[in-house]
Symmetry: D2
């Protein structure tokens, strides 16, 4: 194990690297770019790296399926942190290139829908070709293969390019969510503003199964924050669900909901409890009546008294 090494979805100059550098602990780690999400995560599984940062969700493009599927069905890993990064692109060009000179543009396929409207307005005749990553697009511009690349502005220096236009993003509030992943261990400490992630397989094709799944959360007043269906690979119509909820596995309402899922579903994979990025514990909304840890303790004590004939 190399506790000093973190991998991330590379190459250098991508938003993932920028997200990783927002974590204080990254300053003292060796940061290693990898060529793919599986490779990034495999380095953690094998012990070559202590943790890995990968994108999991984009507010424009949706879930990052490679990450979702690796976490669901690859060798066990757990999430310990999340990072939210606002996404804005710069149009990077070789020094001296003007907007009117641009005939070809490149970038990661995920970037395209996020700059489509901008392209249609400012470069309606430019031809788009996808690159393996935004940073790779920048490299290809450096090499002269394309005229311009959409990438993070921070990538310009690395590739000797200039940001011709900055802060390009079709959607307001465009964000990408990244997760810091490690080998299974004790979950991150409870902060009071936490999130818990699991992957849940539904037992059979019975039509109410998803409703029952959601009711395990609802019955304990646990708010669901994200649900994403993913194919199990067993054929059209067979799905598992990647679910985030509010709260920490040591919160009793969350623990009881997870146990409920475990009881009724054939398979549940716990992916971790970790602090919600950008949310202060003092900003977390009120719990539903009767679902605090104190309420659980009172009820458990009452039950014990009932069982002892002292209620």
């Amino acid at each position: 194990m190399s506790p000093s090494r973190y991998t991330y979805l590379g190459p250098e100059g991508t938003f993932t690297e920028a997200a990783l550098r927002t974590l204080p602990e990254a300053a003292t780690r060796e940061l290693i770019p990898m060529v793919s999400v599986p490779a990034t995560l495999d380095a953690v599984r094998s012990g070559e790296a202590a943790a890995a940062l990968v994108p999991i969700e984009n507010s424009v493009e949706g879930g990052v399926t490679a990450t979702l599927d690796e976490l669901a069905t690859g060798g066990p890993l757990m999430i310990y942190r999340e990072v939210l990064l606002p996404i804005a692109f710069a149009l990077l060009v070789r020094p001296g290139v003007k907007l009117s000179d641009i005939k070809t543009v490149t970038g990661h396929p995920v970037a395209q829908p996020q700059v489509r409207k901008w392209l249609a307005k400012h470069l309606p005749h430019a031809v788009w070709e996808s690159a393996a990553s935004n940073a790779d697009g920048a490299r290809l511009v450096q090499e002269g293969r394309y005229d311009a690349a959409f990438a993070g502005e921070f990538a310009a220096a690395t590739y000797g390019l200039e940001p011709l236009v900055s802060d390009i993003h079709d959607a307001q509030n465009a964000q990408t969510r990244f997760v810091l992943v490690g080998r299974p261990a004790r979950p991150a400490a409870r902060t009071g503003a936490d999130k818990t992630s699991v992957v849940i397989w539904l037992g059979d094709d019975h039509p109410g199964a998803l409703l029952e799944l959601l009711q395990e959360y609802a019955a304990r007043g646990v708010n669901m924050m994200r649900i994403e269906s993913r194919p199990t690979g067993e054929g059209i119509g067979r799905y598992c669900f990647s679910v985030d909820c509010e709260g920490h596995i040591t919160d009793r309402r969350v623990a009881e909901a997870l146990m409920g899922l475990k009881r009724i579903c054939p398979k549940v994979r716990f992916l971790g409890s970790y602090p919600r990025a950008g949310v202060d514990p003092s900003d977390v909304g009120e719990l539903r009546h009767g679902t605090s840890d104190a309420d659980f303790v009172v009820a458990a004590e009452w039950l014990a008294r009932c069982q002892d004939g002292r209620a």
Copy 2:
């Protein structure tokens, strides 16, 4: 305390006495008839009796409100046994009286609707007046105040009467359910065919409160067997609910459901877990998938492993 003394809703010769005598332990107890449900139960509360048998539900007339209300709001008591008794009436007369002689009949008000059709057919012109109990009606016939009384056939000898007609019951399967009540102590031992009784107060007038109450049971796969609303006495529209469910308080699904009720409702009174009368543990239906004690244990162990990073 007099462990040798049991009270029951008297007088002698009622169905309640007959029900009590079906219990093996009654053979070695002093059985004391009392004049009312409150008096029967107060003898237990005060320690004059070890237990009391009172009717709680009749398949024709419904819940016995005096019993329901005493258990809900009187000094704390618990149910340890239930007895189901088929109800059939005999028409008791003084020796020599013929059907055509009968002008007046009596019996407990609860008996009337159970023999109404029989009366309309066989004694259409007889005048009914209610007595304080079926046995009391028999006594009043003995005294000559009425011509005939509906009562259990077993009451005839006590009052020097004869059963002119036997096995009278308008409804098929007419039954009364009785409960053996004692001071709060450890619940009856789990048999595998058990029932758990509680009284639940809903917090405020919010319209979904009853649905939430039922969902606490449903979420754990616990079957509800009986629900009866009773006024709280605070005005029209304010109710508490007397609820029986399958299972024993030491069954984990039941325990979790009860704790759920305790958390979301302002008041829950545990009335006991006790064997279901007439049901053999081998006849109890299958549990819903994922709700056995073994399923709960597996889920709790899994949760512990998740919290320890060993899932």
Copy 3:
């Protein structure tokens, strides 16, 4: 048919008569006391009376089972009005009788629990015997059989008695709810503050049946106001449910909920939609989002456009 004649649960001088006289239309009707709830209602069924007033619920004693069962399983009738009457008793005595003279008291069995605490405090040694009605108790006092009767103060004059003590009621807010019942016809007109009553039989013994019943209401945002289980007479464990909900059968959310009940339950009896006593339409709370008639119309029009390919 005698449109000029209304029956009520007699005898004269009961709270039921007092409740009936609060209805403006009663002033022009012949008001006929009857000896029992069945007799009161049968007069309507047979056409001898246009309508009947009977008690259906008491805030201390709960549902009036004779009324509930007659409406559920007797010849079809419908509710057109409800009346809420605060219940307070007077202690009626023959002129000159003092509190210290009273050895025996009487009244309707339903009255007893409503004055129990008062009796325990002021007449701890008086013996209670039940009468067929509060008014009948007054008559028995007039005849000298008992020393005092609990009844409505308005009954004093009828029986030549005096109210020794007035406004006796153990519970705050003690009320009785009465319903004005007629033969089936168009429901009362919608007022905006309405109530709809039905009786629902559950199909089989499947444990989730009651939950499904409630969900038919909840799914359309219809608030349930009262639910009362009654035995079907087929044996312990078989119940039907008497249910009141907010709203009128011509409100679309109520209509859809009723149709939902009709579809999933083997039997539903509609008992009427009628104005809520004492509630002004302007005081009715807000509907749940999306459940107004306007919302239903918008949705139906949208569906029609979808089916026509014009959405």
Copy 4:
């Protein structure tokens, strides 16, 4: 409009073309390959084509986000048919090339995870580079840029290649689902084995919103077949849901569920009712009790009688 012209996601030789050719009507249409999902659909929106076939879901890779998002938020279109195609790849090479010659392979990015295990086993050292489509990959092999391409075997002839290995698919039952899309019009006729697709936006962030959505289906016994969350583009945590359910919009249970969704959700887009591919009406499971059209009719007639006083 050109009723004779169908577009599809090209280029020629893709699985989409193969799927389109399984439709009998395709035989008499001019089939036009397009460069992207948006372009394929825009041709229908503009009237240049009568219909378009695009992939919407893959049993290995999940939802095709370009299609989901175009149908959700692009100019209105409707689905009239679906096609299920088993997916198996051939490894296409220039004549004479042997497995041991292969250093570089290409294919659509979606193909890669479906052949990853095969590659790891048979060509562990080959370098993968993605192509714009499987057919495009074949073209690049023809041009000599790569040594081999994964594509449908049917693409070999078009590009002068040979299938070196056939029937490659890591997952059993790998399938892709395609939809035939046209401008909004009357839905496809009901067959008895139908599917209905909608996109639903949840109103606000209230945590139970998804549960309420599912309950609109469940309350009417309508089985949900697929649910997929997609970002609305308004920021992390804001989703809309693409949902398929069993049944046809003219089935009353489906119609009522859709109207329920329309009432409680701020926006619902109807995407069509159409025959379920590969399912015979005689194979469709039984409806939940009380949810057939006949049940709805009986309930509506009963309601009308209640409202008329003839129940």
